[in-house]
Every structure is written in C-alpha cells, then in structure tokens.
C-alpha cells in the first residue's frame, strides 16, 4: 500500500474560516439593509483602515520594508481623485482607480531612491518623500493649495450608482453616497485580503517569507530579493492610493496636512498592525477592531485617548511583541490564513507498505 502523502496549506480551522469569511462578507454587504447610517460610516472607517493596515503589513511584515511614508500614497491617491474630478470632470468612482495609478507612478521614483537606503535610513527617506509630496501638492493652486478644497457638489450629485442606491433603499443622496463608499471599501478590503493571501501562497509569496527571514540566504537559493521588493512596494503603493482616493471621496473635503498626515495614515496603521500581530493576515484584522473599540470607548477624552494609544503601542511592543493574535495563536495553535505548507497523511501508516 502506498502512503498517501499530500502537501497542503489547509487546516481544519482554515476551511471553517473560509466559509465564515464568505458568510461575513455577504453579511457585511447586506449591512445597508439593517444598519444605521452611523454604523455604515463606522464600518467604512474600519474597512479602509484595515486595507491600509494590510498593505503596510505586506510591506513591513512580509517585505521587511519598514516605511514611515505611506501617507504619501494616501495623499497622492486622494489628490489625484480631486484633480481629475475638479479639473477633468471625471466621475468620482472610476477616479478612485486613477488615485491608485497616481500612487503607483509616485512609487516608482520613490522606490528608486529609497531602495538605495537600508533600515532606519529607508524609514526616514520614505518619510521625507512624503513630506516633499505634501509640500508639492500644497503648491497646486487649482485644488486649493495649502488650505485644501471640497469635492464640487454637482460632481457628488452626478456620481454613478448613487441614484439607483437612493431609490433602492429609499434614502437621501448623501446616505446613498455613504452606502456606495461603504460597498467600495468592503470590496477593496475583501479584495486586498484575498489578493494578499493568494500572493503569499504562490511560489513568489513563499519566496517573500524567505526574503523576510533572511535576505542573504534567500538570495543564495536563487530568490531575487530585489524584484520581490519592487513587487511588494508597488502593490502596496497602488492599494494605499486606492484607499486614499476612497477615504477622501467619502470625506468630500481635503487638505494637504490631513491627506499627508503621518499620524493618521502611518502611525495609527503601524499601531493597528503591531497590536494585532505583524506578519500575519489575522493580525491587522484584530488590530483594527481593537483600535476602533478604543477609539469609540475613549472618544470623549480627546487627546488623552491618543496618548493612551501611544502608550499601548509601546507596551505591546515591549511585552507582547507578537501582538494579540500572536498570543491567541500561540495558546490555541489556531491559524485562519495558513501559509506554511505541511505534509499530511501517510506518515503513520506508511510502515505497512
């Protein structure tokens, strides 16, 4: 009898997780049927932060590229959207895609420059580029210069699908816009997670883990670390740009300081990833929920809340560097998005043959 070995990445928990994830997406997609407008807006916030966190995790957790300059891509994606909507009269929804493309275009020279730098230099270098982008955009008079601008009323009014949604749910146009933005955010977040998971399970993805663990060793077995870094950096920039466009489409008002804020779009995102667990897909999901929970609980305490957030980030890094998900999976061995391949079957029965 020949032993039946097979190589799989699946675990019982992961099969369950897949079904649960699909159900959750359906449930969330139907949220406009049962959720209030406030809840929809909260979910929008959670989903967009989750997207940003997944992309930063891809960069730093898997790619080893600790960037402090992701706000450059949020800002440029948002401003590209405002630019083509205000100046070109493009519909805001497809303009989100242009936001992603603009971020991609900015990412190419950024990578050329930043990949010459290592470690701390890389982190600071990306931050400086984000500052340059902010100061550059502040010179762009037709989108409001340093003070910023709003999306024109008629562009918002004529936005595709809004009318249909308004009729479908029998709500006003502004609520319909929130629903549309929410659906887009859900699609973006789900697509991001599925895409990153798929990427990590390919041969390239495994190579990525190898590069993260040891650049030298990975190179010696033929992994092209340079190409992987480019792939990861550009993917993250594109996704971050999409999220930036979408976030500011929903906000309908923009300024360079807000769109290129290192605190909002990089510091908090890093906290989310690290509080959750860096280098896993589950981590940012847990992290964003904790982040949102803290924010809602402590919303009345203003800057105390932010101070506490900073201190929590410090405490997690010092005392539980693998984050909350790290603690959970260490205890339970749970893996919802397994990436490591395991040999199953055969092993115990093979003696009979």
């Amino acid at each position: 009898m020949s032993a039946r070995y097979s190589v799989t990445t699946r675990t019982p928990a992961s099969t369950g997780a897949l079904i649960a994830a699909l159900a959750l997406v359906v449930l969330l997609a139907l949220a406009p049927l049962y959720a209030s407008r406030g809840l929809i807006q909260d979910l929008f916030f959670i989903l967009t932060m989750l997207t940003l966190a997944q992309f930063w995790n891809l960069l730093a957790g898997y790619g080893g590229l600790v960037s402090v300059g992701q706000q450059a891509f949020v800002g440029i994606g948002a401003y590209a959207l405002y630019g083509v909507v205000i100046l070109g009269g493009v519909d805001p929804v497809p303009a989100i895609l242009l936001g992603g493309v603009a971020a991609l275009v900015l990412a190419i020279p950024t990578a050329f420059f930043a990949f010459r730098l290592q470690g701390a230099y890389f982190a600071i270098g990306t931050w400086v580029i984000a500052e340059i982008a902010r100061l550059g955009v502040a010179q762009w008079r037709s989108v409001g210069g340093g003070t910023g601008t709003s999306l024109p009323r008629d562009a918002l009014g004529d936005m595709m699908l809004v009318e249909g949604i308004a009729a479908l749910f029998d709500v006003r146009a502004s609520a319909a816009r929130d629903i549309l933005a929410y659906w887009l955010a859900l699609a973006l977040a789900a697509g991001t997670i599925a895409g990153i998971y798929a990427l990590l399970r390919t041969r390239r993805g495994l190579a990525l883990a190898a590069v993260r663990d040891n650049t030298e060793a990975a190179r010696s077995v033929g992994v092209d670390a340079g190409r992987m870094k480019w792939l990861v950096f550009l993917t993250a920039a594109f996704g971050t740009g999409l999220a930036g466009g979408l976030i500011y489409l929903q906000k309908a008002r923009i300024s360079p300081d807000a769109a290129f804020s290192v605190t909002d779009w990089t510091a908090y995102v890093i906290f989310i990833v690290v509080i959750g667990c860096i280098g896993t897909i589950e981590g940012p999901i847990i992290g964003v929920l904790v982040f949102f929970l803290l924010q809602s609980l402590l919303a009345d305490y203003g800057s105390w809340y932010l101070m506490l957030l900073g201190l929590i980030g410090i405490a997690v890094m010092l005392f539980a560097p693998r984050g909350l998900w790290g603690l959970i999976s260490e205890k339970t061995g749970l893996q919802l998005f397994p990436i490591r391949r395991r040999l199953v079957g055969g092993v115990l029965t093979s003696k009979e043959g």
Partner: protein
Amino acid sequence: MIWVDTILQGVLLGGLYALFAAGLSLVFGIMRLVNLAHGDLIVFGAYLILVIVSALGLHPVVGALLAAPLMFCLGWVLQKAVLNRTLGDDILPPLLVTFGLSIAIQNGLLEGFSADSQRLSMGALETASVAVGPVSLGVLPLLTFGSAVAVIVALNQVMYRTAIGRAFRATSDDPVTASLMGIRPDRVFATATALAMLVVTVAALYLGTRANFDPAIGPARLIYAFEAVIIGGLGSLWGTLAGGIVIGVAQTVGAAINPEWQILAGHVAFLVVLLLRPRGLFPRGQ
C-alpha cells in the same frame, strides 16, 4: 550681495538644525537607535523651560540650566527602562516604541498646555543684530551657531578624550566583548541618551527663543535633524554640523527664490546629497 546675506543666514540657520541633530547623532551613532520622538523631546524641553521660567520668573537661560539635570535624568530613565529593551537587529521595535512615545508626548503636551503657541522671551536680545561688513546678522542666530559649535566640540572631547567616551565607542563596536571588559552596555546606552538630553535642552532653549512653538511641531524638527545626521554621515558630529548647514542654506536660498519653497528646498537638497553620496558626506571608517 544679497546672496552673501542669504547664504550667511542659511549657515546660521544650519547651526540651529545642527543643535536639533547633535543629540540624535550621538545616540544614532552609538546604538543605531532611530528615535522618532527626538523632535517631541525637544518640544517637551521647551515646555519644561517655559514652566520653570514662568513659575520662578527666571531668564530662559537660567531656566534651561535648571531643566538640564531633569532632562538628563529623564534620558537615563527612558533609555534604561524602555529603549534598551528595543535594541537589536530589527528596526521595528525602536521605531514603534519611539513613535508611540512621540504621540504620547504630543498629546500629553496638548492636554497640558493646549494648542496655543508659546514663546520664551529673551528680551532685547531677540532683535539685536551686528553689522558684519555690508550684511547684518542677528545676535540670537549667531549665539545659536556658536552654541552648536560649542556643543559639538564638547561632545567630541567627551567621545575621544574621556573614559566614558571610550566606553561609548567600545560598546558601539561590540557590546558583548565590552561587557567582558566590565562595561555594562545598558548603562553606557543610558548615559549616552542622558547626555543627548543635555544637548536636547540646549536645542529646546533656542527652539523656544527663536520662534513660536506648540505641541505639534516636533516631527518637523525631527526630520530636519535626521536629514542633517544622514547628510553628515553616521557617527560624525562635525558631519552633522555640515549637514545642518546644507539644510539651512538650501532653505534660505529656496525661500529667497519663492518664500513657499523654503522647506521643500531643504528636503530636495537632502535627496540630492543622498543620491550622490548614500553614506553621507563624512562617513566614519573606510
């Protein structure tokens, strides 16, 4: 002639940036620690001086003298209790912890002092100037530059002429072997950060007297400081001064062309230097 003036003003501004950067350069050079809270610590120092000055009715310089030992101890405790645990090959822990610290300090100050901008008053000194040939230079900028040079001379003396400086360099080379020689790396690092906080106090004095400050301006100072350190080359304190001057001159020249380009020009100069010389102008060793 106007250009001579612009460049001289830029050099003097560079002195301020070098002061922002000197403490960072020391810490970064000795333990490769990226302290993202450095700018906020300078701002914190400025508020500490402000509190002392307004509570006791003292001159800001005396206030800074009183603040210095407090800042020294703060640096020691910070390094010993928190930052030492983040050191290692991975840059994420120090980055995240100092990011957290930065946000905690900013919001703590915001809660304590509101977002209103503040200033340390030096009285008549603020507007005094001396004529050097055809250009007139402010006394305060000259003092700043002089202080930057003095700080760097002093740090170099400490680094190359004293036992603690020897321990700094040995621990930076190889902490395990240093501990075999009876050195406690955690202590050495704590001393280095404490020393850096003395420099931060000097920087805070000039930050507060040269312009208005508020709780949110730390990160921008951090970027200037880092640019100066990286332009100068890791571990070279004179290089840090040169780096500060490069940023300062680029900013004043940029501002002379178009006032809105001041900050942008400084960042662009940083990128250009780094593209041409990725290890900075005066890298140590090799």
